[in-house]
């Protein structure tokens, strides 16, 4: 027999297709018989704003002095039909997140942080809490398919109304809030039995399609005396058509949420496989507004994976008027803090990966209704951290705008951008860096 003991052997090789995560999911599914549910947005690598760079000043672009020359950041949202549009100091808003998904302390902290920076925060599925209203200078009231906690008094108390068609994390999916988070207070606000696994409808109960939506917006305007700006929020599915239809229906503001946008809880398979990346959605939404001659007349808010001032600046340069942050705001409050590593380990995870927001055992006291855990979050201190973070993002945004010669961040434009990958060039509609090539448009076409 041949002796193979001295024969060189290849090292063990794991499959790229059946990687460790995939194998673990197959084993989990086999053991439980039910799909995986988690919070957050898409975790996979996607084309994103990192794949774009600013060109900066040159002979043809005159830079502004960083510490001397003013660079404005304020924004008006909703002046198409509303008699009282929102005037925000910065174009970075807080996205809709519910009391129920988040603790009352977390909601209050979001309001405090946003108000300190002169920007808005947003309610979520389940209605408006007094803590949130009280601490929010500008509060956007979400109008969702479930209509949990929906009432005309709160509608009139709001500064703007956001009709939610869908979310980037799950366009076409309803919500869910598992029983451990349906406490007496949450259940009372939603008219549900305590402890049930709450389902939220994926479609509105009393309108179907853009023609109905137009009438629905008229009703909301009639109830609020045509004062409140009305946003329409769409998950990034078909952003060109959905933006156009929102404009047709009479929206003051369109919110486009890419697949990196977070959710309190939904199926992992939904989060990772439905919808398109934020980068791909922005250009399509802007194109729809331009085709209708409504760009800058109906404002565009972009959300889904916004992390720093560069992301904000790039979204604005592509044609958005403002952005919304959710996941990043929670991190600023204290979510996934490495200081809590020991407790994350007990939950079978690690800081930076914790996404079992639906289970209500968040050691940071944010995505929980447990009174003891919730008390860990000091809304004043957490609100201060959020304000700091928003201030840094704004400074970063101004830095990039000045570098491109802009005296107001709204003046950022696609011509300030180049793409680092062919995919990003095609999605964003800006040239591949070092070329004048925009995929799909031919050489020399801008």
């Amino acid at each position: 027999m041949a002796d193979y003991s001295e024969t060189p052997r290849t090292i063990p090789r794991k499959s790229a297709t059946f990687d460790d995560y995939t194998l673990s999911e197959i084993r989990r599914a086999a053991a439980t018989g039910i799909y995986d549910i988690r919070g957050g947005g898409s975790k996979r690598r996607l084309p994103h704003f990192d794949d774009l760079v600013f060109l900066g000043a040159s002979i043809s672009r005159y830079a502004l002095e960083g510490y001397r020359e003013k660079c404005g950041t304020d924004i008006v949202l909703g002046d198409r039909f509303a008699s009282k549009p929102l005037h925000l100091k910065i174009p970075i808003t807080i996205a809709g997140m519910s009391f129920g998904a988040l603790s009352a302390q977390a909601k209050e902290a979001l309001g405090r942080g946003a108000s300190a920076m002169g920007t808005s925060t947003t309610t979520g599925d389940g209605g408006m809490t007094p803590e949130e209203r009280g601490q929010s200078r500008h509060l956007v009231y979400q109008y969702l398919p479930s209509r949990y906690g929906m009432n005309p008094d709160d509608l009139r108390k709001a500064d703007a109304i956001e009709v939610v068609v869908s979310q980037g994390a799950k366009p076409g999916g309803g919500g869910m809030l598992l029983g451990q988070k349906i406490t007496e207070r949450v259940a009372g606000m939603r008219t549900l039995p305590v402890g049930v696994d709450q389902r939220s409808a994926c479609r509105h109960p009393d309108w179907t399609g853009p023609d109905d939506l137009e009438i629905k917006l008229q009703e909301l305007r009639e109830i609020t005396a045509w004062e409140k700006p009305i946003y329409v929020k769409i998950g990034a599915a078909r952003p060109y058509y959905d933006t156009a239809l929102s404009v047709k229906a009479g929206a003051d503001v369109v919110v486009v949420d890419g697949m990196q946008g977070g959710t309190a809880a939904t199926q992992e398979i939904f989060i990772e496989h439905v919808g398109i990346p934020t980068l791909a959605a922005v250009r399509e939404a802007v194109r729809a507004l331009q085709d209708l001659d409504m760009h800058r007349k109906v404002q565009l808010i972009v959300s889904g994976g916004i992390r720093n001032g560069a992301d904000v600046a790039k979204a604005l340069a592509m044609g958005a008027d403002a952005v919304a942050i959710g996941t990043a705001a929670l991190v600023a409050l204290g979510d996934n803090d490495p200081a809590l590593e020991e407790e994350y380990r007990k939950l079978g995870t690690t800081a930076g990966a914790y996404d079992a927001w639906h289970e209500g055992r968040d050691p940071a006291g944010i995505s929980t209704q447990d009174p003891e855990l919730s008390r860990r979050l000091d809304p004043v201190k957490a609100g201060h951290r959020l304000a700091n973070y928003l201030a840094v993002m704004t400074l970063e945004l101004q830095t990039l705008a000045r570098a491109n010669g802009k005296s107001h961040v709204r003046n950022l434009e696609p011509e300030d951008l180049a793409a680092l990958t062919v995919e990003a060039a095609a999605m964003a509609g800006v040239p591949l860096a070092g070329t004048n090539w925009v995929p799909g448009r031919g050489p020399g076409a801008y």
Binding site: P152, D206, I215
Partner: protein, 229 residues
């Protein structure tokens, strides 16, 4: 805030909808008659005081939407979402209503003397609805609280994914939706039904109805229930 005492005519042939609604929304009491509605949408919505409003003719979508305390009567038919998200008060339609009548309503009484289309009482959250005729499919879908009384028949998938809403149907039910079952009529149910029928001005005996509600088997996700979805 204006106060109007006498019966006031509001004619949509000469006033626009905003003016009509603003008058009704700002009134603290009084009787109002809306003339020439012409199927206008969002009429008499967002009312918040105990006023009486009679709409002389057909109304479009979302008539009396989010009503609080007012008593609104549509002398004709009503479009989609009549009395949607009503909080309190009374809304009466003497004719038929389109789909999603009383959708997500939290309180008050909605009376449809004729028939309603699909999704009557969808996501109802405490409203009481009494329908003199029949209702369409998927009615009381995800109904959370409140009572739905139907003197005629109910379409397919009645009470699908229902929570704690209570359903009373006198006629035939085409089919029950997921987790909706027939339940025994006990004394307390006959009593509340009789009271509802009386308030709605309907001539029917409580003993003629059957009761439906949640089996509560889908209140928690469980793999054994997968076939129900």
């Amino acid at each position: 805030m204006t106060t109007t005492l006498a019966n006031t005519g509001l004619d949509l042939a000469t006033m626009d909808r905003r003016a009509v609604n603003q008058t009704l929304q700002e009134a603290e009491r009084g009787d109002f008659t809306v003339l020439n509605p012409g199927g206008a949408h969002a009429l008499a919505c967002g009312l918040k005081s105990p006023i009486d409003v009679t709409i002389k003719g057909h109304a479009g979508y979302y008539c009396a939407g989010m009503n609080q305390e007012a008593a609104v009567t549509v002398e004709g038919n009503a479009g989609t979402g009549v009395a949607e998200n009503m909080m309190s008060g009374t809304v009466r339609v003497t004719g038929d209503a389109s789909q999603s009548a009383g959708a997500t309503g939290h309180g008050g009484l909605l009376v449809i003397e004729g028939n309603t289309s699909a999704r009557c009482g969808i996501s109802m959250k405490g409203i009481d609805i009494v329908v003199g005729g029949s209702i369409g499919h998927m009615s009381a879908f995800m109904g959370q609280a409140g009572r739905l009384v139907v003197l005629g028949d109910a379409g397919a998938d009645l009470g699908d994914s229902i929570y704690e809403a209570r359903l009373y149907v006198r006629g035939k039910v085409a089919s029950l939706g997921a987790d909706c079952i027939e339940k025994e009529m006990q004394g307390e149910h006959r009593a509340e039904l009789a009271e509802l029928l009386a308030r709605a001005g309907m001539d029917a005996g409580a003993d003629e109805f059957r009761r439906y509600g949640s089996a509560r088997k889908l209140y928690h996700f469980h793999i054994d229930n997968i076939g129900a979805y």
